[in-house]
């Protein structure tokens, strides 16, 4: 709200960040591990007095120079460019908080490129000892870059005590700093080993090839084995909402974790096999599989880390849309539009509702939702919801689905956003009381479920289910699919929804309201009189008479309290009672 939004409707910025970040993550870790690998391999060449290995190392150095310095360096700058474009508020916070961390990282970057240039251009022209020292400086500077960036990236997921004290070091040495540092270090050694593994197979001289394949393979395997406990340690220190997200509450994370696990298994298996088979190991497709698995393993970790901080961009500090958590209460009072800089509608009026709603969408939702585009398309996600359902959904969106930020603003603003998302995007009617009339089960379904799956899409999944099974499933949604949150509504609501869902596959079945009416009766009346007790008193009553009586219970009997249910609930209860007493409709 503080900044303008880069608005390309079909193209959410998240995708762009992911793309650039993935490239940079691989290349940069590769650079760090590569520094270590080069120095150690050079040492091996010196010790074994092998010119063939030395040539191999020199060739690698050139590749590292071209890949990591050009591509790694520039994609690093690219991430900075992209995030300042997509998340200007978060970028500003990270830059301001850690400016001297970034500045120190710049110094190490400078040392790194000078060292790499000197290292590459002095191969064979410098005494071994000095050349090795330069190599160590290259690795040290690259690893220090990782050390510094690691602190800032982990801060985004676990800001720790920085939230209360705003202290640079508290934010930097945050709860996930050390496990993540170890994990990333091993990961970078593993990537470099895998690459050495691949390139070693191209060596012509058979003896050298065997030696380097075995050397690189062992290198990768040891790093891989060491990375597993580090990854475990990392998961164990995650804060509980993030841990919950990681342990399977989100389908995307689940997929990422599975990819990671699978890659890990393939990687370890192929590595061991290749090291054992080593003398004959010029099986490049297997080694390509190793490279891909290594990237899958690493990618799964990064993906999980990114996803685990949702709905925040900086956990517990700033939501993905740039709104600070601490500002939420104030903005809810004052209004979002009044506080926002880049909006034309400073308040919602009768005439500008849709336009104001659009601006609210732009500043609160567009950070993650594209408009008819690839990622998290808002159009398809809102098509099943009515205006009323949308309003109820937005009001508790963060409570219902933790990974979405809360709507921030006044009720009028919420209404404007709901209007834009329904009337604006889908030309749906803006009937205010949609929540109060009609099929209650349907309304509840729209409010609670339709955001993720339409009735049409859920219908085939419940084919052949009886009502009891549908009803029982509503008590254990996460067991059906870990991505689904629990539906924590009174059992009467669940009954109503079960009735509605059951009817989808069984249109001729008894009206679902019966069940709702029964539970409403149980909740509100049965404590004093069972149905059997009052049946005789209503002999011959029509359904309408029963319905009318529900409006004036205290008049029938002064001991009875008035029933304060909604008209729809009274309808349901009247239907039920009429059915029980055999009264006509």
């Amino acid at each position: 709200m503080n900044y303008p939004v880069w608005f390309v409707p079909t193209f959410g910025g998240g995708l762009l960040i992911a793309l650039v970040a993935i490239i940079h993550v691989f290349v940069s870790h590769f650079a760090v591990g590569g520094g270590f690998y080069l120095v150690m391999a050079e040492r091996k060449a010196i010790k074994e007095k092998s010119q063939a290995i030395m040539d191999f190392v020199k060739k690698h150095t050139k590749f590292f120079m071209l890949l990591t310095m050009v591509f790694g360096g520039l994609t690093g700058v690219a991430i900075w460019f992209v995030i300042s474009l997509i998340h200007p508020a978060a970028t500003s916070l990270l830059i301001h908080t850690f400016v001297f961390g970034w500045a120190a990282e710049w110094v190490f970057f400078l040392v790194e490129i000078v060292a790499l240039f000197v290292y590459f251009y002095t191969f064979g022209k410098m005494d071994d000892r000095t050349h090795q020292t330069i190599g160590w400086i290259y690795f040290g500077a690259a690893w220090m870059s990782l050390f510094l960036i690691n602190g800032i990236i982990d801060f985004m997921l676990t800001p720790g005590s920085w939230i209360s004290n705003n202290d640079f070091w508290s934010g930097f040495f945050n709860p996930t700093f050390w496990p993540s540092l170890f994990f990333r270090s091993f990961m970078s050694f593993m990537l470099a080993g895998c690459y050495g593994f691949l390139t070693a197979t191209f060596l012509e001289d058979e003896a050298t090839r065997h030696r380097m394949v075995r050397y690189s393979g062992t290198w990768a395997l040891v790093s891989l084995i060491l990375s597993v406990p580090a990854g475990w340690w990392y998961l164990s220190v995650l804060p509980s909402p993030a841990a919950k997200l990681v342990s399977g509450a989100s389908p995307t994370i689940k997929r990422a974790v599975m990819t990671g696990g699978f890659s890990l298994a393939v990687l370890a298996g192929v590595l061991i096999a290749l090291i054992l088979l080593n003398p004959k190991a010029r099986i490049r497709c297997l080694i390509v599989a190793v490279m891909l698995s290594a990237m899958g393993y690493m990618g799964a970790f990064e993906w999980t880390r990114e996803a685990a901080r949702r709905p925040y961009v900086i956990n517990e500090v700033m939501y993905s849309n740039g709104i600070l958590k601490k500002d939420v209460e104030r903005i809810n009072q004052d209004g979002f539009l009044k506080n926002a800089k880049w909006v034309q509608n400073k308040e919602v009026t009768e005439t500008n509702q849709l336009e104001a709603g659009r601006e609210l969408f732009l500043h609160q939702c567009f950070a993650c939702h594209s408009l008819g585009g690839f990622n998290n398309d808002i159009v398809s996600r809102t098509q099943n919801m009515s205006f009323g359902a949308m309003r109820k959904y937005l009001a508790t969106i963060h409570e219902k689905r933790y990974f979405m930020p809360p709507f921030v603003g006044t009720d009028t603003e919420l209404k404007a956003l709901a209007a834009y998302l329904t009337a604006g995007l889908h030309k749906k009617p803006l009937t205010d009381d949609a929540g109060a009339t009609g099929d209650r089960g349907k309304v509840l379904y729209e409010e609670n479920c339709a955001a993720c799956h339409s009735a049409d899409s859920i219908k085939p999944k419940m084919k052949g289910w009886d009502l009891a099974k549908v009803r029982a499933s509503l008590d254990k949604l996460p067991a059906l699919n870990p991505a689904m949150p629990d539906y924590t509504a009174p059992s009467a609501d669940k009954d109503a929804m079960a009735g509605y869902l059951f009817k989808l596959n069984n249109p001729g079945a008894a009206p679902a309201v019966k069940d709702q009416g029964a539970s409403l009766y149980e909740e509100n009346c049965a404590a004093c009189h069972s149905m059997d007790q009052i049946k005789p008193k209503m002999t011959g009553w029509t359904r309408d008479k029963i319905r009318a009586a529900l409006d004036k219970l205290s008049a029938l009997n002064s001991a009875m309290p008035d029933y304060t249910g909604t008209p729809a609930e009274k309808d349901a209860m009247a239907d039920y009672m009429a059915q029980q007493t055999g009264g006509a409709k």
Partner: protein, 355 residues
């Protein structure tokens, strides 16, 4: 719409503003030196292709070898000042960045292509033959385009009056073309860069390449000619830039503001002096005069920025919550880093002397 209402709230600083100003003013000219050397080396190498003879061909080849280094250092030395600009003016910079998002992102692929082409030019110089010239031309065009994109962002960031265009064009496709200062600003910095780059080439030719008398002399001649003529041209371009500035800002340089006027006066004196030494092809004296000149020019640039922003933003009003230890950590890292770099380069010298 009042442009001031669009300006985002600036985040809290973690050190007094002066420190960031100091680091910005210290590191930005370093970026300029590297960037100028890069552009100048590229241009001189290109011109050398047009001359016949072994010396010019060798000169192109030698400069080709230097080009990838210069790109690497231009990028690296650009990171530091951009970081400090982010700290002092981030809220303005991010706003204009969003407005021109598409172009701003294009900087990265353009640079990557230019960088790899520079390496191709270097590693395949012999193989490329006459094609080398066109590879180099592509590098130059790409780099000059990147410069133009930067000029747009740096000028749009200080002109909030142009920002409300976002409401009708939010796709990141805006540039600052309507700003009368944009073109002279860009030409001013490019002319200066190519001039200083020519000087760098002359310096490079007379030091690193001095073992080959002919090549060294060719580099000195081309470099110093480029420097002198472009500096002469700069008097025209610079005056044009000055005249397109808003009247109040312009007048500050004409006696209205003591610091601004003094900077301009010192700048002009230094420039005239470099013209004399330049046309006499005295490399080292010109270098010693140009080093402070680049600093003076970047201070003047800062004065212009301050004047543009005066109605909208006063850096001293940004809240400050000082924490000294990270600053000390950075300074220690800087000293250590420079020490290590000097040590590595000294090993290089030893190797050179030994051979």
């Amino acid at each position: 719409m009042n442009p001031a209402t669009l300006i985002p709230i600036a985040d809290t600083l973690t050190a007094p503003n002066g420190w960031f100003q100091f680091f910005l003013m210290l590191t930005f000219p370093l970026h300029l030196f590297a960037m100028n050397a890069m552009l100048g080396a590229g241009l001189v190498a290109f011109i050398s292709h047009l001359y016949p003879g072994r010396a010019y061909r060798e000169l192109s080849h030698e400069l080709a070898k230097a080009l990838p280094f210069l790109v690497a250092f231009t990028v690296n030395l650009g990171v530091a000042p951009l970081l400090f600009v982010n700290v002092i003016y981030g809220h303005l910079l991010y706003s204009s960045t969003v407005l021109m998002g598409l172009f701003w992102l294009a900087v990265i692929p353009l640079l990557i292509i230019a960088y790899y082409l520079a390496y191709i030019y270097d590693f395949s110089f012999q193989k490329l033959g006459n094609l080398a010239m066109f590879v180099l031309l592509a590098v130059l065009v790409l780099l000059l385009t990147v410069g133009f994109i930067f000029s747009n962002n740096m000028s749009m960031m200080i002109s909030p009056a142009s920002w409300s265009r976002w409401f009708t064009t939010p796709g990141g496709t805006l540039l600052n073309l309507a700003d009368p200062t944009l073109l002279p600003r860009y030409l001013h910095i490019i002319t200066g860069s190519l001039a200083v780059g020519g000087l760098f080439t002359a310096l490079y030719a007379t030091t690193v390449l001095k073992s080959d008398q002919e090549v060294s002399e060719a580099g000195r001649k081309l470099g110093m000619q480029l420097f002198s003529w472009l500096t002469l041209l700069q008097f025209g371009v610079g005056s044009w830039f000055l005249l397109t500035l808003p009247k109040q800002t312009m007048l500050r340089f004409m006696g209205g503001g003591s610091i601004a006027t003094a900077l301009l006066a010192v700048g002009v004196v230094l420039a005239v002096a470099t013209l004399i030494t330049g046309f006499k092809r005295l490399v080292l004296p010109t270098v010693w005069l140009t080093l402070p000149l680049v600093y003076v020019m970047s201070f003047m640039r800062d004065v212009v920025r301050g004047n543009f922003l005066a109605p909208y933003f006063n850096p001293t009003t940004v809240p400050v919550q000082v924490q000294w230890s990270p600053l000390l950590f950075f300074l220690a890292t800087l000293v250590l880093g420079i020490g290590v770099i000097v040590w590595m380069l000294s090993r290089l010298q030893i190797f050179k002397k030994a051979s």
